[in-house]
Amino acid sequence: MALTHDARAARPRRTPVTWVRRGGLSTLVFAMPLLVVFGLFSWLPIGRAVVMSLQETNLVTTAWVGLDNFRTVLADPLLATAVGNTLWFAALALLLGYPVPLLAAVLMSEVRRAKGLYSALAYLPVVVPPVVAVLLWKFFFDARPEGVFNTMLGWVGVGPVPWLQDAGWAMPSLVLEATWAGAGGTIIIYLAALTSVPGELYDAAEVDGASVWRKVWHVTMPQLRGVLLITFILQIIGTAQVFLEPYLFTDGGPANATITVLLLVYRYAFGQSLGGDYGAATALSLMLAAVLAVLSVVYFRLTRSWSQA
């Protein structure tokens, strides 16, 4: 076994016998699951991704093509559309998914009775299986005047809205559902952070005669800064890889208005009936990864500094 060999090589002055006697073997037993699972399903694929991005392959024959895959991807007119859409999704998701849960959480933290009811209601959509949520909302988004949302809008004399059937409306519709499905989780995170704001800070502010609004603005918000920044970055990283909604709602349509980077990766690899362009798919995913890795490092730094603070 290569693994045993490596371990031995790390301790060159020992014989296999002393190694076993000192518990090297039982240690290896504990190392096995991690090494096998990470080796096969994480390290190996990551290495292969780098190799494949420089190759053209149809799984039968493989050829080195240098940076051609990257050139192909960069020359694809869909790339700009996909990047733009993904950024647009992220921006809309922040616009909707950021302030709304925060406001709700700040209000909810002041609830004195039946607080559990509030949290439960807010969290309920998160429990709905995501695919069910999308299929249900797809029907809600029926663009006929008889559609669910359009009927409701009709009651107040608005609409009908084309929802998924219009290049301009499709993306906001996706974000609306995604926010519905995800806001509960964010609210609970904010609530948890709010409870950890030390009461003394408020006491001190009150001594200075601060009004309610001043307390929220000058005490609560600064205390939440850490959590806000972290949810911000997590959200960007999450939305950069959005797939479920555009795939199931619109399959990237209408007219590519909702094609995202990950959907493009999927299409390169699996979207053509006669065989995928795995090289282009990995090249694009590596480019996306490079951007996200930078964000991850920022995030990691932040969480470190915050947990040490």
Partner: protein
């Protein structure tokens, strides 16, 4: 969580999708008090234990504040009912409404009676029960695989610490910065033709379970928790003649229940939400989870029956949530809780 290539929405960016460490981890690991009391170290994240909020009792006594808070809480509750409960109530209604009524007058209350047979059609023809079972089996296996790798790996890196531990740890940590999307294609090819095994893992639950285990987030989370365990206990056990296996089974595991609970919640939620990966590797309809099966049926199933199938698929997790509400909310709060 290499398989979670399907971060759904903005706030879906739980660790499952980001595969990143969460600051809450340190809150757990660094809260020995909670551990000593034998309770999960989640105490500080429980919303109902706040000492006080921004409003002081004095504020509450002011009529303006009280009235406006009551009003805004009323509005908030109404909105929460509308948004949180509304869609599910509609889903429940559609589940027993004739298809033509759903299409023509979706919001009318049973203009042409109730179609109970949607439910039986969904149960028998769509076989929701079978796919639900598949979903559960998938989640259970992913959970087991993550727990196994995370505990043994954490034990290796934190307690046993062989010489190669540093290299392993660095290699695990490095994967934290590689988003799941990179793995999509190469991991798919590994599943197609895995080294050593000699046969494709396609259409096998192992194709989902095993990659799920490769979660750097879990390993590091557990490792940091183990790091915080008192070394004296280990030494005492060693003196008493306990080998690494006894130490692991009788000392370390029992002491790490809180962190295992956290990993479990994350594991199950991630598996529950996963879509793209099972879609790619589980092609045989008989073994697909609900998340893969339902979309492939949407255009060939009568709308009323589809709605009934969706409703049944939702009912079970919602019931579980209502029963274990506190556990869910704690886990979710922990997902992003920052130590104050």
């Amino acid at each position: 969580m290499t398989t979670s290539t399907t971060p759904a929405g903005p706030a879906h960016a739980t660790p499952a999708t980001a595969a990143l460490p969460v600051p809450g981890a340190t809150a757990v690991a660094g809260d020995p008090g909670a551990r000593r009391r034998g309770r999960p170290g989640l105490r500080r994240t429980r919303p109902d234990e706040a000492d006080r909020g921004a409003l002081s009792p004095a504020d509450w006594r002011r009529p303006v504040v009280r009235r406006s808070m009551r009003l805004s809480h009323g509005v908030l509750l109404a909105l929460l009912v509308l948004c949180g409960l509304g869609p599910l109530v509609l889903l429940a209604k559609f589940a027993v409404t004739p298809t033509q009524d759903i299409l023509r007058t979706p919001l009318a209350v049973f203009p042409n009676g109730v179609a109970w047979d949607n439910l039986s059609a969904a149960w028998n023809d769509v076989q929701v029960s079978r796919y639900f079972l598949n979903t559960v089996v998938l989640a259970a296996g992913a959970w087991a695989s993550q727990i196994l790798v995370a505990t043994t790996g954490g034990y290796l890196l934190s307690v046993l610490r062989p010489r190669y531990a540093k290299v392993v740890q660095a290699a695990v940590l490095a994967t934290l910065f590689v988003p799941a999307v990179v793995l999509l294609v190469p991991l798919y090819l590994v599943i197609l033709d895995p080294p050593l095994l000699g046969r494709s893992l396609m259409n096998s639950y192992w194709a989902v379970w095993l990659p799920a285990g490769a979660s750097a987030f879990n390993v590091l989370l557990v490792q940091r928790f183990f790091d915080s365990l008192p070394r004296e206990v280990f030494e005492a056990a060693r003196v008493d003649g306990a080998g690494p296996f006894r130490l692991f089974r009788s000392i370390v595991l029992p002491m790490s229940r809180p962190i295992l609970g956290v990993v479990s919640v994350f594991a199950v939620i991630a598996s529950w939400k996963d879509f793209l990966w099972p879609l790619l590797v589980l092609r045989d309809p008989d073994i697909q989870p609900l998340s893969v099966r339902l979309p492939s049926l949407q255009a060939t199933t009568d709308l009323g029956v589809l709605m009934a199938a969706l409703a049944i698929s939702t009912l079970i997790p919602v019931l579980l949530f209502l029963v274990f509400q506190r556990l869910f909310l704690r886990g979710a709060g922990l997902g992003g809780a920052v130590k104050g």
